[in-house]
Structure formats: C-alpha cells, structure tokens
Symmetry: C2
Subunit: 150 residues, 2 copies
DNA sequence: TTTTCTGCAAACGATTTGCATACAC
DNA sequence: GTGTATGCAAATCGTTTGCAGAAAA
C-alpha cells in the first residue's frame, strides 16, 4: 500500500525491455521518490536537477519521463496548465489513482481518495460494452484557503 | 433539456459584454450546431470552414473558440491528444456535463450520462472544505468495436 | 466615429527529433 | 564491440500576440 518503486524495480523493468540503466534515469526517478505526492513537470524536474548541480539535458528529462511512464513507474497527467505533469504510480496495479481537486483561483491541486467509481465502471460496461481500464476524475472549484481570502 | 444555443443567445451574450456580432463568430458557432456531440479542435473547425469555402483565419478561429467558451456557449476539454477540443455546452447551468469514455486503442470518445458524482461532491466539501464547482470525468479503456477486432 | 475585430505573420512555449559522440552492456 | 543513450541545437506543433487595415455599433 504505502510501498513505492525502487531503483531495483527500475533496473528490472529496463532489462525486460533491453533498455539500459543510466545515471540520468536513476536520478530522474530519485527526484520523484524525493518528492512524494508532487506533480512535477519536465521543467520542474530540470530545475530540481539544476539546484542539485546535476547536469542533464532537458531532452533527456523528457525522454526519461516518457520511458518511466511506459514502464508504469510514473503516471502522466494534465491539469490544464499547459504542460504534462508526472507522479510516481501506485505500485499495486489493482488500485486506481486518487482524484484531483483543482482550485480554479490559485491552481493548487489537492488529492482525494474514493472508490465510488468502481460501481460506475461496471455500470458503464453493462450499458455501453466499453471495457473500462482506468479513470481520471478532476473536480474544479475553490479551495479552503481561497474561500477564506474572500 | 434537448435545447441548445441559438444565434440570438450569441447576440445577447455578446451585447452584454460589449462585444460585436460578426459573421466569423456566427459561422464558428454554426459549425458546432451542425455537429452536435462532436468534440472539435480549432484545426477541425478550420478544416470544416475550408470545405465550406469560408475563409476565416486560424487565429480568428482560436479567438472565437475562446470567446464562445467564456460566454458559456462552448465547453473546452482536453483528451490528451495534444490539442484542446470544444463542444456546445448544455444550456441548463444546473446540469453537469456528461462523462467521456476514451478508447485507448482507436482514440474514439463516447459519452456517458450519470449523476452519481453529485453525492461525491458534497462528500468532498464536508471532508476537505473544498467548494466544488464542476467536475470532469474520463474513463479510459477499450471500446466495443476495438474489443471485437481482437 | 469610435471601438472592437480580423488577418497575417511573427513570436511563443512545450515537446520532439536528427545527429554525432559517449556510455552501458 | 555493439547497440542504446545522451546532449545539443534545430525543428515541430498547437496556440498566442502585435499591428495595420476592416467592419460593427
């Protein structure tokens, strides 16, 4: 449950697909492990790398993010702010991702867990024949803090 | 319920904000009225215009789409295919939008109506203090047709 | 008239790609 | 060694913007 991916998981998954374990890929993953619950963009990652005085080209960051997503280690998501964001995936494939509460005033993204949609998925399959593999839910509104400011 | 926006709605909403009624804006809206249930991108609209031998600059299409969204006539959405898509909004502001079933094989987007999330929104407010204004739900999976092909 | 619009082309920001070199295996 | 990865810069793609002329109000 609280588990997350390790460097060994990365090494194993890379080997399975004849990809190589490189310091760049390790470092990118490490950044996500060091920032649990954060939704980082490629630029964010690149900035953190710069802070750490690690020199990895932005193109390599993009390529690593895509690869890590393909390997199922990262999860790619869009919050409508113009860039793709990533976070470490849940290690248990049977668990769905949490939902996101996006504040339309300050842009903050909170998280919310709920399993209400499991039933809905079965309903959809029955009614439409569509096989649901995953879902993504975003709630738009105003967060507690922004409400207080008004 | 089954109602949709008319050119008079457009004229009225434009006047309220001291914007002008132009043939370009009318034509862009008309395209959406002629394609109910479609999720059109700026390029899509521009292509349809070209088919109809109507010459409207792409920049104007973008500006019209943004304005129509601000007026509440169109609804902007992202399906992760790299561009924003739009469809005519529901005219009844108390009704939430339908959900989308996105096929990860062929990219087709189906629709699905359900009010299950109304309760969930109240739940979120209680637990987190977040005031939910709207939600957006996407289900990813494989559509009936793509399943049949396998 | 006055103000807002349009069209064009240039600018933009996020992301991708071609290619020569460097590195993991 | 061989094949994959990297870094860089250039290319790309959707979208936005500045500006001069055109058209609503």
């Amino acid at each position: 449950m609280g588990q997350t991916f390790t460097m060994d998981d990365l090494r194993r998954k890379l080997q399975e697909r004849q990809h190589k374990m490189t310091p760049q890929r390790q470092t990118v993953l490490q950044i996500f492990l060091d920032h649990p619950g954060k939704h980082l963009s490629a630029e964010d990652v690149h900035d953190i790398l710069r802070e750490r005085k690690v020199d990895i080209g932005l193109a390599t960051v993009y390529r690593s993010l895509e690869l890590l997503s393909e390997l199922g280690i990262l999860q790619k998501m869009e919050f409508g702010d113009g860039c793709s964001r990533y976070e470490v995936n849940t290690i248990d494939p049977t668990r769905h991702h949490h939902h996101h509460l996006i504040c339309t005033q300050c842009g903050k993204v909170e998280e919310f867990d709920d399993d209400l949609l499991e039933n809905l998925e079965q309903d959809i399959s029955k009614k439409t024949g569509f096989r649901v593999v995953d879902h993504q839910v975003k709630f738009f509104g105003v967060c507690k803090e922004c409400q207080a400011k008004q």
